[in-house]
């Protein structure tokens, strides 16, 4: 039930944001995330944006996973 999906905020009016997810747009409430801004990637759950995705941290995780490839190869 705690499934949540990431999307990008395209527009915002008061507590309502238009968010793009995989090419589809939908409206979600930003009442639980008032600091969200246009251009932010956010995590959505049950009609609400609940967290801003930290792009720097996402890049770090991705870089780490990609780096492991070298170690996996060395191990062979």
């Amino acid at each position: 039930m705690c499934l949540a999906v990431p999307g990008k905020i395209l527009a915002r009016q008061d507590m309502l944001a238009t968010i793009e997810v995989g090419g589809v747009t939908r409206n979600v409430s930003v009442m639980l995330l008032p600091e969200a801004q246009v251009g932010d990637f956010v995590l959505m759950h049950a009609g609400f944006a609940v967290q801003v995705i930290d792009e720097e941290e996402a890049k770090k995780t991705l870089a780490l996973f990609k780096e492991l490839e070298q170690y996996a190869e060395h191990d062979k």
Partner: protein, 366 residues
């Protein structure tokens, strides 16, 4: 967000599984994934089969539908039978058996039950149907509870007088404490729920390492996130340390989401709650504060509920505490199947029994 080729994912997964095997060095270890969404991701991606046999992933009490007790369902079913009431609910609740019926059966017999994806849809339905009492079945953990709290605040602001909430929200950390305090679950480490933590942050889990000396890692939901989190747990177990770590830093800041927590505590207060399988756990539920009592279904719409009965032989309670594998239940795959569930763990797509049945673990032995 994490765009990788299949080949890259395979190689990273191979690295993690190899290291996990080395670190375990033959010891039998039990790691508990607390969250139902993790359970599904683990089964779907075949992580249980990738891990060495001696490192076992056990599902915990993290499927909100599964831990909702019969009494709550019986109450919802009794409300649905009233002609002036309309029930709004997440779809997962429909097939969950109560003592003698389900919401799906009641719907088939004419009760007005609407499936919604958000508490906001329930609000819209209430606004469009002023002659009906619209009850929202508020089920879910800390991720979902703030969305129901926000709906109550919006209903108050819009002066809606026909919107009610039947709250069964539950809190994860008190349940983990209860599991550990019981001394029966024998868990060597916890994979902690990523999206619950996105709201509550890291501090509420401090007691795991400080009081029980058990490692915990907040984990994301991609297969590699989960493997990395298992690897992080194994490093701690190998070094005989117990810390709280955060694998899911792209989503979970240390402090969580303070705005959501503020709204949650503005509307709800902590209260004791009954969990299926775990019984009553102190301060593990949420009840609506006095200021917003006008939206509390139980306080405003009188109802007589049938006497609650538990399904005999159903072992959901033991499964939810990680004490029993679904395949060891006499009903699993025989009398209890997804199309004819006897216990809640077979109903929800996130239920442990449903995941075992659907993704094959144990399926061919029955």
């Amino acid at each position: 967000m994490l765009s990788m080729t299949n080949e890259e994912v395979k190689k990273a997964a191979a690295f993690f599984t190899k290291e996990i095997e080395k670190l375990a060095s033959g010891r039998s270890l039990r790691l508990m994934e607390v969250c139902g969404t993790h359970t599904v991701s683990i089964f779907k991606s075949g992580i249980r089969q990738l891990l060495p046999e001696n490192v076992e992933l056990v599902s915990g009490p993290g499927c909100p539908v599964c831990v909702t007790p019969n009494e709550y369902l019986d109450t919802a079913i009794a409300y649905s039978r009233k002609s002036d009431v309309m029930i709004t609910t997440f779809g997962d609740m429909l097939k969950v058996p109560g003592s003698s019926s389900t919401l799906a059966k009641e719907k088939a017999q004419g009760s007005d039950i609407r499936i919604v994806y958000s508490s906001l849809e329930a609000l819209e339905i209430a606004a469009k149907n002023p002659d009906k009492k619209v009850i929202f079945l508020a089920v879910g953990f800390e991720t979902t509870a703030p969305t129901a709290a926000a709906a109550i605040l919006m209903a108050a602001e819009a002066h809606l007088t026909n919107f009610y909430v039947l709250s069964a929200h539950k809190l994860v950390p008190p349940a983990l404490r209860a599991l550990l305090a019981s001394g029966k679950s024998h868990v060597d480490g916890f994979l902690l729920p990523g999206h619950v933590s996105a709201i509550i942050g890291l501090q509420p889990y401090d007691f795991l390492s400080k009081e029980y000396h058990i490692p915990g890692v907040v984990a994301g939901f991609e297969p590699l996130d989960i493997l990395q989190a298992v690897y992080m747990l194994m490093l701690q177990i190998h070094d005989q340390t117990a810390r709280l770590e955060n694998q899911y830093s792209r989503i979970v800041p240390k402090e969580g989401n303070p705005s959501a927590c503020t709204i949650l505590s503005q509307v709800y207060q902590q209260t004791d709650a009954v969990w299926r399988g775990l019984g009553k756990i102190p301060n593990s539920g949420m009840s609506i504060r006095e200021k917003y009592q006008a939206f509390d279904a139980l306080l405003n719409i009188p109802i007589i509920v049938e006497e609650t009965k538990e399904a005999s032989h159903c072992q959901c309670g033991k499964v939810l505490r990680g004490l029993l594998k679904p395949s060891a239940c006499l009903l699993f795959g025989k009398a209890c199947r997804p199309e004819h569930p006897i216990g809640s763990c077979m109903v929800s797509v996130e239920g442990t029994c449903a995941a075992w049945y659907k993704y094959g673990a144990g399926r061919w032995q029955v």
